[in-house]
């Protein structure tokens, strides 16, 4: 129940919260603003806030110089591919755990989660070696596989928690109605779980998009996604603030927007349903 509060208190809350919110958001805001400045204005002292010559030049320069579209495309393929592949593998597994639970289901779920905790750096070299042996180094396919495996536990968990909310009687009804297991999953379970599957896709695309250990260490020129694209700007020759900002905005914009849509799922996904 909403409690009535005085307008005065609400005003104070609002001012305070907006101030804090803007402070936290400021680095992103500043990056966005800078991306529209000229290089000279970007490092002007004192800083120029809004009254500068707005320009889109940085964006076209960034695209020209480092072929942004190629990195973007790699990110899309790697994040999207690993997530979709993960969901395809996870749906049957989550179905099993949610609707045919056994004594071991809980142990299997927890074990899957524990693989997520393996420190990447501990197994960096073996993976590196395997990638060389299998010719997967600097290939999008290799990264799709690795990121799929990293996020698979989260995908299984999220789908499992969503599936558990679907009453088992409906699936039994489908079975009584003559549906095979495949038909039951395709015609009944999946359409009913669309919202849950969508949130799972969203959150995992974000996680894969921002993954910055494997993507930096297993790619070079060919398969490098946006994380590597940005990292290339850390070398001194790349130090042009306006262009750096433009590149940053281009790297985070798609995911920032997706992220805003998936805040709620974030809690559920990353806490494995332990906070509701």
């Amino acid at each position: 129940m909403a409690r009535s509060v005085t307008t005065q208190r609400k005003t104070i809350n609002t001012v305070l919260a907006w101030a804090v919110g803007l402070l936290i958001f400021f680095p992103i805001l500043w990056t966005i603003l800078t991306s529209f400045k000229t290089e000279a204005q970007a490092i002007n002292d004192p800083p120029i806030w809004f009254f500068f010559d707005w320009t889109l030049e940085n964006y076209s320069v960034v695209q020209e110089r480092s072929n942004y579209m190629k990195f973007l495309w790699n990110s899309v393929i790697i994040a999207g591919g690993s997530t979709v592949l993960g969901v395809i593998i996870a749906i049957p597994a989550a179905w099993s755990m949610a609707f045919v639970p056994s004594k071991r289901t809980k142990d299997i779920l927890l074990w899957m989660l524990s693989t997520k905790m393996l420190p990447a750096v501990g197994v960096l070299y073996p993976i590196y070696l395997l990638f060389i042996k299998l010719g997967l180094l600097d290939s999008r396919f290799g990264l799709v596989i690795v990121l799929m495996l990293i996020n698979l536990p989260i995908i299984v968990w999220m789908l499992y928690t969503y599936f558990r909310e679907i009453p088992g009687e409906i699936l039994e009804a489908a079975r009584m109605d003559g549906a095979t297991l495949k038909e039951e999953i395709i015609y009944v379970l999946t359409p009913m779980a669309i919202p849950g599957i969508a949130s799972t896709l969203l959150l995992n695309v974000i996680l894969a998009w921002n993954e910055a250990f494997w993507t930096l260490n297993l790619t070079a020129a060919n398969a490098a996604p946006l994380t590597a694209f940005i990292a290339s700007y850390s070398s001194p020759e790349g130090l042009f603030y306006a262009k750096l900002s433009a590149a940053s905005v281009m790297a985070i914009a798609p995911i920032l927007i997706m992220g805003w849509f998936s805040q709620k799922q974030l809690v559920r996904g990353l806490t494995f349903g332990a906070v509701k």
């Binding site: 750096v121 960096l124 930096l216 994380t227």
Partner: protein, 287 residues
Amino acid sequence: MATAQSRSAARLMMTPAVVLLLGWMLVPLIMTLYFSFKRYLPLRGGDLGWVGFENYVRFVTSSAFWPSVQTTLIIVGGVLVITICLGVLLAILLDQPMWGQGIVRILVIAPFFVMPTVSALVWKNMFMDPINGLFAHLWKFFGAEPIQWLSQASLPSLVMIVSWQWLPFATLILLTAIQSLDSEQLEAAEMDGAPALKRFWYIILPHLSRAITIVVLIQTIFLLAIFAEIFVTTGGAFGTKTLSYLIFQRVLESQNIGLGSAGGVYAIILANILAMFLMRIVGKNLD
């Protein structure tokens, strides 16, 4: 409750996920274990034979080991303290009635979706650069000498950057937990004459304890593995070498696979100890 048919179907459908993860876990793990007992230098002679526990001993006795443990603890501990304290305050603030709550939430959550390489670069150059950074401008405005953030105050700077990234996560989880608090409980306490501070201490904080534990565990696991932030800002210099970064350097930069693998085994053990606590909490929630 099901038939033998659906049970065997279930086993079959679980197989791909289980086999993949089992392979993903075991193959590299066994390889790491194998290398950790070898003297293995790919660029200087390759496999030079078994050395027993020498790598393990060398890793912990090297001069870089204890500083890296200290650095790791400072970063993890610092970020945890900052994100949880600010997170609780922020969550309580965001839970209050106000105008534009949705937009404020979006502003607060945004840093979490910024990829680590971007946030490290933006902070490093546009804020912490001693000549052109915004902080330098600010310091000069007040007549102070700009700070060389990433060399003079490297660890606090790093803690700050990482805290900025993780504060949204802590806030969001704590906010979710606060919102699940039964408002009648608070009203009852108010009727009983408990002042705001006592209500916070005796009702809100205990209610949040579980969420806080989860934040601690999940963040710890991610924080132990932070990589891009260090890679982009200091490259491990100026005392910012964490345990995992040290292992990374041993493996890729000095190409001492045996030594790096021994370090990796330490990291895996450490992560598993932490993971066990997390499992216990999550596991309880399953029943």
